[in-house]
């Protein structure tokens, strides 16, 4: 009897739970009706906590800056924009949960984010099912954007950047022959390495590679192993805290070697974390040129709000909002639907603060790269865009 009663109470409480859950949600219904001015809601996916928190926070601020600017200037076709940012913790599963939440929420017209290629790829199926755009500022795996017509990215792809690293930084700039690669074991890390290796081999380089699981903290055994190979250059393919951790642990082991990183871009935080920042060379498709007035102004506004200097990542995030704005402008008086945004975005041609943004057939863009390094604790351009043509 007692058990039966328990069973019933169990079922009852399940119902109670349902009710509590119901009252917990607060929906904002703001569908983009045709003609009448309303608020167009966007969903933002960003790793606000975890290993990639610097980039996630950058996304959040970049998006909000663009939205504030657009709304202050009267909105898009009279519509105001708003964004709801959800923390994906740099985790593909949390990200796909959040993506589903946005996709199911009919008031959300498009999704911006996520940061990692892995998360974006995990969400590809979901956004395809629900028919909602996922415009990532930073996903760079070559096999992401072609997963669905709703998937877009503006970072440029690893099949451009990784071969550039091999050909122009390692071969032409450093003249290195023996390369040690330590990479993160993720979709992105794999795609970097797979695009890097053929070019490196073509140039006659001898490559040794080791991978580590995302979230690992102790790299001493990897470093010892790499050191025994006696390479010319140590290349790390990852973003976030691990990049600094690996280089610092190599320094701590007393290993004097040239550091090269693929992935972090010109991250200000990285300089602060490194024990020997001046020893680092990275690829970057973008640089905050002090002589460029628009960029400097943007950069200082960003810094005011965030407390740290921007990399290309928040700049790309900022650009994604303008891409959506331009797409909505292209729709004009037509009804603003998720599909309409997808079509308009697909056809749009834009220039953002990070350069020209014209989508390829897959839904991503092609970028050019330059070589950046650190001098006296500040990022500098070592070789500009022309270096690849010289």
């Amino acid at each position: 009897m007692k058990k039966k009663r328990m069973l019933a109470v169990a079922a009852l409480s399940m119902t109670a739970v349902l009710m509590t859950a119901c009252s917990g949600g607060s929906g904002s219904s703001t569908g983009g009706g045709s003609g009448e001015a309303s608020t167009i809601k966007l969903g933002g996916l960003a790793p606000l906590t975890g290993n990639y928190a610097e980039y996630g926070k950058g996304f959040q601020i970049g998006w909000q800056m663009a939205i504030d600017e657009i709304n202050a200037a009267g909105g898009v076709n009279g519509h105001k924009l708003e964004i709801e940012v959800k923390d994906t913790q740099g985790d593909a599963v949390v990200s796909s949960n959040m993506a589903t939440n946005f996709a199911e929420d009919e008031s959300v017209m498009a999704i911006l984010g996520d940061f990692t290629s892995g998360a974006c790829k995990a969400n590809a199926e979901i956004v395809d099912r629900y028919g909602i755009v996922q415009l990532s500022p930073t996903a760079s795996a070559p096999d992401y954007a072609n997963m669905s017509k709703y998937c877009f990215s503006i970072m440029g792809r690893q099949d451009g950047e990784a071969p550039y690293l091999a050909r122009y930084i390692l071969d032409k700039y450093l003249g290195a022959k023996k390369i040690a690669v330590i990479r993160v074991d993720s979709d992105w890390g794999l795609s970097c390495y797979e695009n890097f290796l053929p070019t490196a081999e073509e140039l006659g380089m001898e490559v040794t590679v080791e991978k580590y699981a995302s979230g690992e903290k102790d790299f001493s055994s990897l470093i010892t192993k790499m050191r025994s190979v006696n390479p010319d250059v140590l290349v790390v393919m990852d973003q976030g805290d691990s990049v600094a951790a690996i280089f610092n642990q190599a320094d701590a082991a007393g290993w004097d070697i040239q550091h090269v990183a693929l992935g972090p871009g010109t991250s200000e935080q990285l300089i602060g974390q490194l024990t020997t920042p001046d020893n680092l060379i990275v690829t970057s498709p973008f640089f905050f040129d002090e002589n460029d007035e628009t960029l400097t102004k943007w950069s200082s506004t960003f810094q005011e709000q965030s407390g740290f200097a921007p990399t290309i990542h928040p700049a790309c995030a900022y650009d994604t909002v303008y891409l959506i704005k331009n797409a909505i402008e292209r729709i004009g008086d037509g009804e603003i639907t998720r599909d309409a945004i997808q079509q308009a975005l697909d056809q749009s041609e834009n220039t953002g603060i990070t350069g020209a943004l014209n989508f390829t057939e897959d839904g991503d863009i092609v970028r050019n790269y330059m070589i950046c390094g650190v001098e006296n604790g500040k990022w500098v351009v070592l070789e500009g865009f022309d270096y690849a043509n010289e």
């Binding site: 058990k3 039966k4 009663r5 328990m6 069973l7 019933a8 109470v9 169990a10 079922a11 009852l12 409480s13 399940m14 119902t15 739970v17 349902l18 509590t20 859950a21 119901c22 917990g24 949600g25 929906g27 606000l48 906590t49 959800k86 923390d87 985790d91 593909a92 599963v93 796909s96 949960n97 589903t100 939440n101 199911e104 929420d105 892995g118 790829k121 995990a122 590809a124 199926e125 979901i126 099912r129 074991d185 993720s186 979709d187 794999l190 991978k211 699981a213 995302s214 979230g215």
Partner: protein
């Protein structure tokens, strides 16, 4: 409370019918799929926590490795449905059976262990399973996980919206509650509880403690496997990092908060933890501090959990003694 109990005793059938009707209507009344998804998550964790509760709460063994069995179920489903196109409905029991077999393997060397030693073995087993999932690339996709897991298909209807998925978790949850409530009242179930209260006494009364502990582990693992298999298409993407010991402890927290050794406890625990996770998201990592505080408070104020029976060994020596002093009789 007493009145409610009386009412329930008198009108059992009506209560069941009302609950049945309510649970059927829920996905059609709640328009926000977002909330339905949370409800799905609550139901999923409720069953997972329930399966752990069968081990921890009813036989008194301390398993910390439920994430491992959950992981086996999820990967079985993902690998079979994605690579071989096996129907979800066939995979579901298969995943449970596979997890149960692994549960047997884990329980064998642990029969002579108890307390902290057993916990450490289960913790280790859970990590081994996760690391296998992370390394066995041809089957599990390695660190990249398995993406685009096919959604369950029911007579041509693809069950990918939470509205439909709700029923999968509901049916599994109800089945779990029903079968478990029966099993617990059977000879086996009573033997589990006897072991929990006093293993030596149970043995002296003819309970085959080793075999009962094995079946207990297998039963718990079986349901964890099933719910894992249902979870994989629900999130559409799985990778090994979802099955870390953190997940195991999270589920354990649900059981502890709700009350070990009760059928209802894990459901309440799951609801509390899931709702807190979602509503406290704005606090970022601080929300974990809040969990920790809740668990510490719980252990302090109500060691048997919110709904735990105060006459069990799980309630801790203090309460037990008090009951005895008062001539506590409930058995």
């Amino acid at each position: 409370m007493e009145k409610a109990k009386d009412f329930y005793e008198k009108h059992k059938l009506i209560v069941y019918l009302i609950l049945f009707a309510v649970s059927l209507v829920v996905p059609f009344v709640i328009e926000q799929a977002l909330i339905l998804r949370y409800i799905c998550t609550i139901m999923m964790y409720a069953t997972l926590a329930g399966s752990l509760n069968v081990i921890n709460g009813y036989s008194g063994q301390t398993c910390l490795g439920q994430a491992g069995f959950f992981c086996i179920g999820a990967y079985t489903c993902a690998a079979l449905t994605k690579n071989f196109g096996v129907s979800f409905w066939i995979v579901l029991p298969l995943a449970g059976i596979l997890a149960a077999l692994v549960g047997l393997l884990v329980s064998l060397p642990t029969l002579k262990l108890s307390g902290i030693y057993l916990s450490i073995v289960t913790l280790g087993a859970s990590e081994i399973i996760r690391i296998i999932a992370q390394t066995w690339t041809p089957v599990t996709g390695g660190a990249l996980g398995i993406k685009q897991i096919p959604y369950p298909n029911l007579f041509g209807l693809e069950l990918f919206r939470p509205k439909y998925y709700y029923f999968i978790f509901l049916i599994i949850g109800v089945l779990f509650l029903f079968i478990t409530s029966r099993v617990l009242r059977s000879r086996v179930g009573r033997a589990w509880m006897a072991i929990r209260e006093d293993q030596v006494a149970a043995k002296s009364l003819g309970v085959e403690t080793s075999r009962c502990k094995c079946t207990n582990f297998m039963y718990g693992a079986f349901w964890a496997g099933i719910i894992g298999a249902a979870y994989a298409p629900f999130v559409n993407y799985i990778e090994s990092s979802q099955f870390t010991t953190d997940t195991g402890f999270n589920v354990l927290a649900m059981v502890v908060i709700g009350g070990q050794g009760t059928l209802l406890g894990p459901i309440i625990g799951s609801a509390i933890v899931t709702i807190l996770t979602e509503t406290l998201r704005f606090l970022e990592n601080w929300r974990y501090v809040i969990y920790a505080i809740i668990i510490i408070l719980m252990m302090w104020v109500r060691p048997q959990g919110l709904l735990g029976a105060s006459d069990s060994i799980l309630a801790g020596g203090k309460i037990r003694r008090k009951e005895k002093e008062q001539g506590g009789k409930k058995a």
